[in-house]
């Protein structure tokens, strides 16, 4: 049954009301961080990732390669935020700083906090978020209770800081994104085989990026290419627009 215009208005008002309750009354004009890819940004509520909010990403499988993709994805988001220090709450000590620097997160923007347990990670994250002077706080946690997630979300709103949470697989049969959470967006990443190059070598990494859930928007998924040195993700080039083809055409023209 099509809705009449008065019903439409009423529905919109109700939606606005619900949104106001959901994020403690700070909906209007909240800043967003676009990916810079029209294809992605138009699917996101607000045209990008809300800056003062909690975002989660998890690997699609317990494979370490997928987890490394998640790390790069979160690092690229943190790197694209405006200038400021990023706090990274570690739970394991295998993060390699030169690799992060290549995703655009320079060493002078990053401070590591080495935590022993998940609770410590969450406490450090909350403290960093409430301070309000950081650009982003990244944390690595296995399990996250609903209440703990809500605390992080509130702290992120209060401090106006982006909270990024990497959810690690604790057991092979427990999907970290299965239980509900208070995060504004939840992402799941998996590695995909990259483009075959004309010469021997490895091309730019390619991921299947799934937006599993977002508040105020629909789920969606894309195939994206790994971040470059300026932390920009990219859409894979269509075969006709590929740079090697363009070079071929130039050669033909010349």
């Amino acid at each position: 049954m099509p809705l009449t215009s008065s019903q439409n208005v009423r529905l919109a008002a109700l939606r606005e009301e619900v949104r106001a309750i959901e994020s403690a009354g700070r909906v209007a004009g909240r800043p967003c961080l676009p990916f810079g890819l029209a294809e992605v940004d138009r699917r996101l509520a607000g045209g990008g990732l809300a800056v003062a909010a909690l975002h989660e990403a998890a690997p699609a499988s317990p494979a370490l390669g997928d987890e490394a993709a998640c790390v790069l994805f979160l690092a690229s988001i943190a790197a694209r935020l405006e200038e400021g220090i990023v706090l990274w709450a570690l739970s394991r000590r295998d993060l390699f700083a030169p690799g992060l620097a290549q995703a655009g997160l320079a060493p002078d923007r990053l401070i590591y906090a080495e935590c022993r347990r998940d609770e410590e990670v969450l406490a450090v994250m909350e403290e960093g978020l409430r301070h309000g002077g950081l650009a982003a706080v990244v944390g690595e946690a296995g399990s996250l209770k609903l209440a703990a997630g809500r605390r992080l979300q509130l702290a992120a709103e209060e401090g106006g800081t982006t909270a990024l949470l990497l959810r690690r697989w604790r057991r092979a049969d427990a999907d970290p994104l299965a239980p509900p959470s208070a995060a504004v967006t939840r992402w799941r990443l998996a590695c995909l085989p990259s483009e075959r190059l004309a010469v021997p070598g490895v091309g730019r990494g390619r991921w299947n990026v799934a937006l599993v859930r977002q508040r105020g928007g629909e789920a969606h998924q894309w195939i994206l290419e790994a971040p470059d040195a300026e932390a920009r993700l990219a859409l894979p080039a269509l075969p006709a627009d590929r740079p090697d083809q363009a070079i071929g055409e130039e050669r033909r023209a010349a």
Binding site: L64, G65, A68, L72, D94, F96, P98, G99, I111, E127
Partner: protein, 447 residues
């Protein structure tokens, strides 16, 4: 003597660069210790000595000889070979300690002239031109000088020679610039009744902090490390300490850092007195106000956050990563304090996760000497390589370890059929067996 000549005479000679600043710092520390422990009047003398004024203190240590023996033993325990001379004038003690025979010389009162007579003129702290001129005139020892009439000497050498001589013989005075030990600012609070509750401790802490901050403001100092010591009724002392990333005398901030530690204090039967000590202080003048006149928002100060996190985690677990000039991946990162400057890495492809230690991979099929693997198995799973890049050859650092003198690692970046990217390396260059045993390892993962 040239170093090569010395090495030829003594095989295995340990040669180190001279470090006058480091030596000076050690000497200053030793002087400070002397001023605290042995005598109220101690001073540094030149780049290699200390003057201790023993007037009225030697009997406290059982006489001059026993005191000197104790100081010598103490220096030997620290690893210094020291020489001590005790004399009636600073100049004589200076000369005898450096040019006398044996590590310990006690000059009897009034015996300075006799003790100094056989010493060379260099013992008198003269400058080089004066010494050279004296040598030309045939003056070798102090005895030669004492025997000469004073007026021609003064005409020939100026006033300085005679002044030094008089100072050594105790005829002229000499200024003495003693080291004044500075005690760290501290506040002591004693209670009428022992306290035991967290609220009472917090109240005492706040009061001590108020007084300490006032005192620091007067002296223009700021705190880097703060110790809060509680003395209990049973004689136990409980100390909690906090450090700050930058010198500060912001009372509420310091109080918040200390307050987080109250729960670690065990009051037992009660605390009789508390002492708040600024264990490490730095001078801190007036600070400029952040932000410009145009009204732009000042950059938020993250130092308080760093202090709080360091208090929660421990300062060693909060750090920045900085580059080290090493191509070996596990040595290329160094931890620096969270506010220190960092250096960036060269932009070779590097993984985001580094396994430590590298994990052995099996069943590797690869062509020697420089082809990437076609397949391998790791953690019980087989992987088939779809694309690969490499090798990037990294040589062992022979200047660090002998075992690495010939070691070589060939790194490959490979992608499997699912798109996972691994960083593998092979020990050895595939041609010379001395460079490695051709075993394969997985060292990291790219995203």
């Amino acid at each position: 003597m040239a170093v090569t000549q010395a090495r030829m005479l003594v095989p295995g000679l340990d040669v180190r660069d001279s470090d006058p600043e480091g030596d000076g710092a050690w000497l200053a520390r030793l002087g400070l210790l002397a001023a605290r422990r042995w005598t109220p009047r101690a001073a540094v003398s030149g780049p290699d000595g200390l003057w201790l004024d023993l007037s009225g203190v030697a009997h406290l240590f059982g006489g001059e000889r026993r005191m000197a023996d104790r100081i010598l033993a103490y220096c030997a325990r620290l690893g210094f070979s020291a020489r001590i001379a005790v004399a009636g004038s600073a100049g004589a003690a200076h000369a005898l300690a450096r040019f006398g025979a044996g590590p310990l010389i006690l000059c009897p009162p009034g015996g300075e002239a006799a003790a100094l007579a056989p010493l060379p003129l260099a013992a008198l702290r003269l400058d080089e031109p004066t010494l050279a001129a004296a040598r030309r005139l045939g003056l070798e020892t102090i005895a030669d000088l004492v025997a000469k009439p004073r007026a021609p000497l003064q005409r020939r050498f100026g006033r300085s020679l005679l002044t030094r001589l008089d100072q050594a013989l105790g005829r002229a005075g000499e200024p003495f610039d003693p080291i004044v030990p500075v005690d760290p600012p501290s506040i002591l609070l004693r209670f009428v009744e022992p306290i035991g509750t967290a609220e009472a401790i917090a109240e005492a802490m706040a009061e001590a902090m108020r007084r300490l901050v006032r005192r620091l403001e007067q002296e223009g100092l700021a705190v880097r490390r703060l110790d809060f010591a509680c003395e209990r009724v049973d004689g136990e002392t409980q100390i909690v300490g906090v450090g700050t990333a930058r010198a500060t005398r912001d009372g509420p901030h310091l109080l918040r850092l200390l307050g987080a530690r109250i729960e670690t204090i065990e009051p037992g039967f009660g605390i009789e007195c508390v002492r708040l000590t600024a264990a490490r202080v730095e001078p801190l003048g007036p600070q400029p106000i952040e932000g410009g006149l145009a009204g732009e928002r000042p950059a938020p100060d993250i130092v308080p956050l760093i202090d709080r996190l360091a208090g929660r985690l421990g300062s060693r677990r909060l750090y920045r990563a900085s580059a080290v000039e090493s191509d070996v991946p596990e040595r290329s990162v160094r931890r620096v304090p969270p506010l220190a400057a960092t250096a960036a890495w060269p932009s070779w492809p590097r993984p985001v996760r580094l396994l430590s230690p590298p994990e052995r991979i099996d069943n590797v099929v690869a062509l020697l000497p420089d082809q990437p693997p076609r397949r391998f198995s790791w953690r019980g799973r087989a992987y088939r390589v779809r694309q690969a890049d490499g090798p990037e050859r990294i040589h062992g650092e022979w200047w660090k370890r002998k075992g690495e003198a010939e070691a070589v690692r060939d790194y490959f970046q490979v992608e499997d059929e699912a798109g996972q990217r691994f960083w593998l390396f092979r020990r050895g260059d595939g041609e010379d067996s001395r460079t490695g045993d051709l075993s394969w390892y997985l060292h990291g993962l790219f995203g």
